[in-house]
């Protein structure tokens, strides 16, 4: 240190190294911030109207012989699901119609839809639309859509739909 108390920066290598490290960290953080934003724009792609698919799935009309009298009547999928819990004869119709709808609506090119229909006691349907490589990460909550409908025995039926990689 000189007489007047001024200190040369070059004489303080530790301070200089600290500054250099901080600058590198700063640049790194700026770079990462940009990367995170770029990824965010990909996540935004996930605003595919998945709720519309579930809503329309439940509203789809399907023809069913309700009383085994060879007369087909039109009910919607929500009704068919409720009926399937009480009568297993409707399960095949439910499965076939579900498969038909989901195979037409591939969400993101390489992905297919999975569906789970269950009430408090049992799983009625756990359908993978086509063979998948695996589930999407559970952390992507926005990709899970679900609806609940009441059953005729006062139990809640949950319908959960989510995409998986094909």
């Amino acid at each position: 240190m000189n007489k007047k108390g001024l200190e040369s920066l070059m004489l303080d290598p530790y301070g200089f190294i600290t500054l250099a490290i901080l600058l590198v960290i700063f640049l790194l953080l700026m770079y990462l911030a940009g990367t995170v934003n770029a990824n965010k724009s990909n996540v935004d792609n996930v605003i595919v109207p998945a709720e519309i698919l579930l809503l329309n799935y439940l509203r789809t009309d399907v023809e069913v012989d309700l009383n085994n009298d060879k007369v087909v009547e039109s009910v919607n999928m929500a009704d068919l699901i409720v009926m399937s819990f009480g009568n297993e004869d409707y399960n095949k119709k439910l499965k076939d119609t579900t498969k038909n709808i989901l195979s037409k609506a591939k969400p993101y090119g390489e992905w297919g839809w999975r569906i789970i229909i269950k009430n408090e006691d049992k799983i009625l349907l756990n359908l993978v639309e086509s063979p998948t490589r695996g589930d999407i990460p559970r952390s992507h909550k926005e990709l899970f859509i679900n609806a609940t409908i009441p059953s005729d025995n006062n139990k809640i039926i949950s319908i959960i739909m989510y995409p998986g990689y094909l």
């Binding site: 001024l6 700026m30 792609n45 109207p49 519309i52 709808i101 591939k106």
Partner: protein, 162 residues
């Protein structure tokens, strides 16, 4: 001392490395900030999806309305016309173009609406002054002669460059 010459005190000389460091720090911060702001975030697909959602959700576009409420996701074929959708989107003479195709489950085209002066066929050309965003098909319902049917809407959004 010569005329016009100036003297540097020891403090001035010692300040030179500090000034260099200061300029270096400012330079690095500027580079960092510019690096962040000049990053190109691709929002074309998000923008296109948002436009497409309007078709399904708005009663002014193609969503079915029974006079009491609107049913998002159910297409009113009477509204699925170029004239009505042009009113709904108001994209005429803008940099945005849209093309919607409604198909039934067998793949037959039920209805098509083109809201662009650029044909979708030109999307495959490698060098062009517009971008084409092909959105994933969406399962919809529509009324045909009073019967509710399932179908698929495919859409392409054309974003012209300025």
């Amino acid at each position: 001392m010569k005329k016009g010459a100036f003297t540097l005190s020891i403090e001035d000389i010692q300040a030179i490395p500090k000034l260099i460091t200061l300029y270096f720090v400012v330079f690095v911060i500027l580079i960092g900030v510019l690096m962040f702001y000049s990053r190109d975030i691709d929002a074309k697909k998000s923008e296109s999806q948002t436009l497409f959602m309007r078709l399904l959700y708005s009663k002014n576009c193609a969503a079915y309305n029974d006079g009491l409420r609107t049913y998002p996701g159910i297409i009113d074929l009477g509204k699925f016309t170029e004239e009505n959708l042009n009113k709904c989107y108001a994209v005429k003479d803008t940099l945005v173009g849209l093309n919607f195709i409604l198909k039934d489950f067998t793949g037959n085209i039920v209805k098509e609406a083109k809201l662009s002066d650029i044909s979708v066929d030109l999307c495959d050309i490698p060098t062009k002054n517009f971008d084409c965003v092909k959105l994933d098909p969406v399962y919809v319902l529509y009324f045909n002669e009073g019967i509710k049917k399932g179908g698929i809407v495919s859409s392409t959004v054309i974003l012209k460059h300025e």
